[in-house]
Symmetry: C4
Subunit: 237 residues, 4 copies
C-alpha cells in the first residue's frame, strides 16, 4: 500500500473533522500530499463513507490531475478543488474542507471575517478572505475545479500568501483551510470556526469592522511566523 504514513495522517484529520464537530453528516473532507516522489501524490477521503468506519485502506491515492493511482472507492467529490489548490499553492501539504457552522454562515453572507482580536491575528494575517461567486460559465464548465480557481484568484488579486492566510471562505458555500500537514490544516479549520464564532458575536455587539490596530496584529502574526518566534514548548499558552 502506497504512502501508509500519509494515509494515517489523512485518516486522522478526517476523524478530527468529525470529533471537533466541524461538519455534520459527511459534509467535509481532508487530504494530504506527498511531494517527495517522482510524481506528487494526493491522499484523500473517499466519497460518502462514514468517518467512524473508515480505515487507511479506504483512502484514495491520486496524482495532481486527479487520476486514481490506488484505491477502489470513488474519491471525495471535492477532489478537483484539492488538486488545483495543491498545484497552485506549492507551500501547502494538507487541505481540509468543512461545513463548520459559523464559518459557513459568514461564507453564506459573502463577508470576509475581520480581524477583531489577537487569536485571529495569531493565525490569520488580516481578514479571512471570501471568494467571488463562480460565474455561470465556471459552474457549467467545471464546478469543483473552478471552486479552487476562485480561491486562487482571490489570493492572487489580493496579493495574499497561503502561508500567512491559511484558509478562505467560498461565497455561498463553506470554508477551506490548509497547512503544512493534514494535522495543521485541521487545526486551522478549527481555529477558523472559533474566530468566526467570536467575530459573529462581536459584530452583533457593534464591533468596528476595522478591527484591532495593525501594530497589534503584526506583533501577533510575527511572534508566531517571524524570525524571532517566541512561543512556548509547543504553541500559544
Amino acid at each position: 500500500m502506497l504512502l501508509e504514513s500519509l494515509r494515517r495522517q489523512v485518516l486522522h484529520a478526517n476523524q478530527e473533522i468529525a470529533r471537533r464537530g466541524l461538519a455534520p453528516h459527511t459534509f467535509g473532507n481532508a487530504s494530504g500530499i506527498d511531494r517527495g516522489g517522482s510524481e506528487p501524490l494526493v491522499v484523500i477521503k473517499p466519497s460518502g463513507v462514514d468517518y467512524t468506519a473508515m480505515t487507511p485502506a479506504d483512502l484514495v491515492v491520486t496524482n495532481l490531475d486527479g487520476k486514481i493511482v490506488e484505491g477502489s472507492l470513488r474519491p471525495s467529490s471535492d477532489l478537483d478543488t484539492h488538486t488545483l489548490l495543491y498545484r497552485e499553492f506549492p507551500e501547502i501539504g494538507g487541505i481540509v474542507h468543512t461545513h463548520s457552522e459559523f464559518a459557513t454562515s459568514w461564507a453564506q453572507a459573502g463577508r470576509p471575517i475581520p480581524c477583531l482580536g489577537t487569536t485571529h491575528a495569531d493565525y490569520f494575517h488580516g481578514p479571512v478572505p471570501v471568494t467571488e461567486p463562480l460565474t455561470a460559465e465556471e459552474v457549467t464548465e467545471a464546478y469543483v475545479r473552478n471552486t479552487g480557481a476562485v480561491i486562487v484568484r482571490r489570493f492572487r488579486s489580493g496579493n495574499l500568501s497561503p502561508v500567512a492566510v491559511p484558509g478562505v471562505l467560498v461565497a455561498g458555500h463553506a470554508p477551506f483551510a490548509w497547512g503544512k500537514t493534514p494535522a495543521e490544516a485541521v487545526e486551522h479549520a478549527d481555529v477558523l470556526e472559533y474566530i468566526a464564532r467570536l467575530a459573529f458575536r462581536s459584530i452583533l455587539l457593534q464591533a468596528s469592522e476595522s478591527g484591532i490596530p495593525p501594530y497589534v496584529s503584526e506583533h501577533h502574526y510575527l511572534r508566531k511566523h517571524g524570525p524571532k518566534a517566541t512561543y512556548g514548548q509547543a504553541k500559544h499558552g
Copy 2:
C-alpha cells in the same frame, strides 16, 4: 403483528428525533406508510410515550382515514396531519414532525428560509416555504387535519414538488419534513435544522435574501436529483 419492518423503521426514526436533539420532551413524531397492500397503512408513534421506552409493538397502525387497524395506544395527536399529507403527496413514504429550535424559530417568525448556500441547495430546491396561518374556521373545524391542508395549499399555490422541497415550516408552529422512507424523512428534518441555523446567522450578518445565484443552486440540486447524479458511494463528501 402487521408491518414489522416498517414498525422498526418508524421506531428508529422516532429515536433519531431524540438522539439528534430535534425535539425536546415528546414534541415530535415520525410515521411511515406502506402503500403496497390492498389498503395503504400508516405506522405512527403513539401519543406521549417516551422514546427510550418505546418498542415496535407500541406503534399504532391506521388506514389513511386515521382509523386504527392495530394498536392499543392512542396514536400521535398529529395523526391527521400525517394522513392528509400521505393522501395528497403520493410520492412520500415517511413523515417527521419536530420542534427543532432554529427551524421552529423561523416558523415562529413566519419567514421562509432563503437558499443562502450549497448545503441548502443540495437538499431543498429554493427557499424552505412557510405556510399561511390557519383561519379561525380551519382551527375550529379540524385543527390537526387543516395543519396538513395549509401545507398542501402552500405547495399547490407555489407549484412546489414535495420531492424537490422535502419539508415546510408551519407558521407559528414548527417544521414538517418527509422523504421516500422514514429514515430519509428524519435526515431531511435534521438537514432542515442545520440550514435553519446557518441561515439565522447569515441573515444576522446581513446576507442578501436573494441568496446564491440560481445557476449554482440548480447545479447543486441537479447533481443530487438530476439524471446525471454524481455523488459518491452514498452521498455528499
Copy 3:
C-alpha cells in the same frame, strides 16, 4: 423525618435543575408544599449545598412564615419568595427558581416573552409576564420577600392566573416557575427556557410581537387545560 415523600420529590426537582442545565453553580432552588396537615409545611433546598451531594435529610422544612420546623442546615436564601408565593397562590404545590440562560436574558431586558408559537401556547396563556423592578424601599425593607410581592402584584394587576401562567420573569433577575407538584414546576421551568430560546431567535428574525392569532393560542391552551383535553397517553406528542 417529616414528609419523606415530598422531600424526595423536592430533591429530585433540585437535581433536575442541574441535570437540565437550568442553573449554573448553585444558582437555583426548588421547593414543595404539603397543604394537607394541621399547618402547611414547605420543603426547600438548603443554601449553597452542591446538588450532587444532597440527600433528602439535607432539605429544610419550614412553615409558611419561614420558621424552621425540621433541618439543621440554613434554607435557601430565596425562602421568603417561595413562602410568599405559596401563601398568595393556593393552587400551586411546587416552585422552581432558575437562572436559565435565555429566560434570564429576557428578564434582564425587562421584556415579556410574546406568544409566538404553539409550544408556548400549550403551556402559557399569553405572554410570559415580567415584573416591575422592586422599589428602593422594597429592597431595603425585605428584598427576598418583596421579590415574591412584585410577582404577585404583576399577576393581580394583569388579572393573571398562576394556573394559566405557570411562571414569571423577575426584572433584572431571573425566572420563577411553579406547578401542582415540584416535578411539574421543573417541567415548566424547562419549557420556559425552551420558549425563551425560540422567541429570542424569532424576534431577531423580526417576528411580530403580536404573536400567533388568539384563536390559535386559545385552541392550544384549551386542548391542554379545557374540559375536553385531548392529549395522548400522557402529554403532547
Copy 4:
C-alpha cells in the same frame, strides 16, 4: 519541590479552565502566588503543554520579576502580565486568563459589560471594565507586561478595586479574572463568561445599557461583600 500545595491548586485551576470550556486549545493559563515567604513566589502554567498531561512538577515557579526559581519548562508566554498584576494588586492570590467565547466577543467589541442583572451584581461591582488598546509604543516596548499595565491603568483611572471588580476585558484580546486563590479566580472567570452570555442576549433584546437600579446592585454586592453577608452554608442558593 517548592510550594507543593500551591502547585496543586494552580494545576487544578488550569484543568478547570479546560473542563469548563473556557479556552480552546491551550489558549488559557492560571497562576497563584505565595506572598508568605522571604520573597513572593508565583506558580504558573508552562507554555504550550496540554492540560490533560500536566503534573504539579511541570509548573514553573518564578519571582515577581519573572525570574525562574524552579522549573525546567518555559513559563506561560503571559507571565509578565501575571507578575505585573500581582505587584500592583496586592489583594489577589490567583489569576486566570481565558479566551472564553462570549467574554472575548465583548473584549473584541471593545465594550464593557453592563450590569443587567443580579448575578452580575453578586460578583462584579458595576460594569466589567474594558481596557484601552495598547499604544504602538507599548506593544513594541513590552507587549505582555504592558497588557498588565493597561489593566492597572484602567483600574486606577476608574478608581476601581480589584476586590470589587475581579476581572477585566483586554480590548481586542480576551478576559483576565482573579481572586483570593487560584480556585476563586477560575470561579470568577467562569461567572464572567456566564454574565457575558446573558448580557449579549439581553443587549440584542434591546436591554437598556443603564442596567439594574443602583440600589439593587448595591444590595446584591453588599450581601456578598458587606459586613452582614447573608449567604448560605457556602454561597448563593
